[in-house]
Amino acid sequence: MLDILSSFTTVALGIGAYFATVGALYGATLLLPIGPRERAQSWVFVGPALALLVIGLLVPALRTIYLSFFTGPTASKFTGIDNYRIMVTRSDNLIVLRNNFFWLVGVTSISTILGLGIARLTDGMRGESTAKALIFMPMAISLVGAGIIWKFVYAFTGDRSVDQIGLLNQMWIWLDPILPGRQDPQQWLLITPWNTFFLIAVMIWVQTGFATVLFSAAIKGVDDTLLEAARIDGATERQVFFGVVIPSIRPTIVVVLTTTTIAVLKVFDVVRAMTGGNFETEVIANDMFDKSFREGNPGYGAALATVLFLAVIPIVWVNVRSMRVSRENA
């Protein structure tokens, strides 16, 4: 009980401290004559946000780029571009980049296509909102939780002499009479390189709901008269979908692709919770964490973070450009 009380005291103190500071500063502006007062007030309003962003994000980001040229446990020894060179030459580091590429292509394409398909099939269906809510639910829980849920699906208890507790292995055995060959229980998360794809499936499970919700809203916004006109002209439902609906929701497709790509680039929790990056499932963000905070090589970690940042830029650039194009067309 005391724990909870002290917990909430900390919370109240944190929030109280912030309001006290802002209140005091705002009070101080009231002492100023009206002209400077308004200017001072606008800095009180915008100042905390700007200060936090400069101290906590802008300067650290620049410093990370700087640190990426250093090595050693405190990143104090200058090494030039060695960190980057090691990243693209050593084979275990190359696996990291390869895995991120698999993640990027796998999750982005499959969850977008699935989301689009589900949004189309459920549109106007009875029980639409229930179906969508259940598909969307994984989005609300933590990726660590999602990782545990799926680790349990992939669980392996031993060969056929014992009962399986993992759903996938049980289904694999049930399929034995149907499929050619012999289906023995597998340690799914240990089979390289397929284990990466079993992790990717988890992220698809999470991201599909997101794509579905966005596409569903976009599809409902498509102009009805366009749909009717196409149907009167004798277009099949397939033609209506690919000829009318897809072009009208293009901006949403770009948004889903961008958001998913950026989320997947930074994937961390799933790998951390399920394999810890072992058995050749390592990805950039998890490697960055281990190198920086566990293995005492923050310089290399900083280089990995910088690569993440550089990878985001072209995606954002494409996104901004496509929006400018769609705005000009509108």
Partner: protein
Amino acid sequence: MTATVTPSENPLAEVLTEEPRRPSRIGVGAHLHKTLTTKFVVWTIVALWSIPTVGLLVSSIRPERKVKTTGWWTFFVDHQTTLQNYRDVLADRASGGQMGAYFLNSIEITIPGTVVPVVIAAFAAYAFSWMTFKGRDWLFVAVVALMVVPLQMALIPLLQLFTGGAHIFSITIIPDLGLSNSVATIWIAHTIFALPLAVFLLRNFIGSLPRELMEAARVDGASHLVTFVRVVLPLAIPAIASLVIFQFLWVWNDLLVGLVFGSGKATAPMTVRLAELSGDRGQDWQRLTSGAFVTMIVPLIVFFSLQRYFVRGLLSGSVKS
């Protein structure tokens, strides 16, 4: 104040609250949903999407021996239940899961980690929309541009800052604030990382409120603070609610920030403990399943009770203008 405006008079609020509706006869899927095949496909996908979670929930209430030796689906013919797994995973003793203590940490982190960035961002959004100061426009662009910086870019220097302060040529710019063993480091980090998107979303909303409203308030002699608190905030409730839910779930579910800035049972959030259990006691399925459900319960309640706001926040958050 003479200008009192209800949220429904704000056209943007209307658009945001009302999802587009129309008769299902003419919708995109109109000609599909009649067939049984469509229904079959949809509900198969729904089942596929739900079954893993059901398996987790069922396992979390089965006795340890059963969880470890038989599939959870056998529960439907052999339904023994127990709450022992939850007692074990929440228990504070060394052999327990200690999730209770971590649960409190999560609350201590998530509440300020949600309230503080939203408040700071709301002030900034108001200033960017309705106050005039030097460099306003390019400062706003700079804030928005920071959205593209992955938080990984800030972790190493921020940790150094929290543990040792900031120094340039041995001159101390920011002293060691002695925060390194406090939950404050975690929610401060969350606050910083949330600001670019929060400022962007709230400025879009607050900036689209009618100009006459602000002018009326000024004519009535209301100061900026009064205008902000009494006029703008009530109107911005829908946008703020979506942002709060979104940020709450983000902080609650986060692992990375908690791992970097948290330190064990004293400050780390639940997700950190769950990942630890998954690594150290990977075969203790009775604990992993119940532990995972303990972390999921709050987001699931938020999700199912406030789904509308959540979806709306997602739509406005990702459809950047």
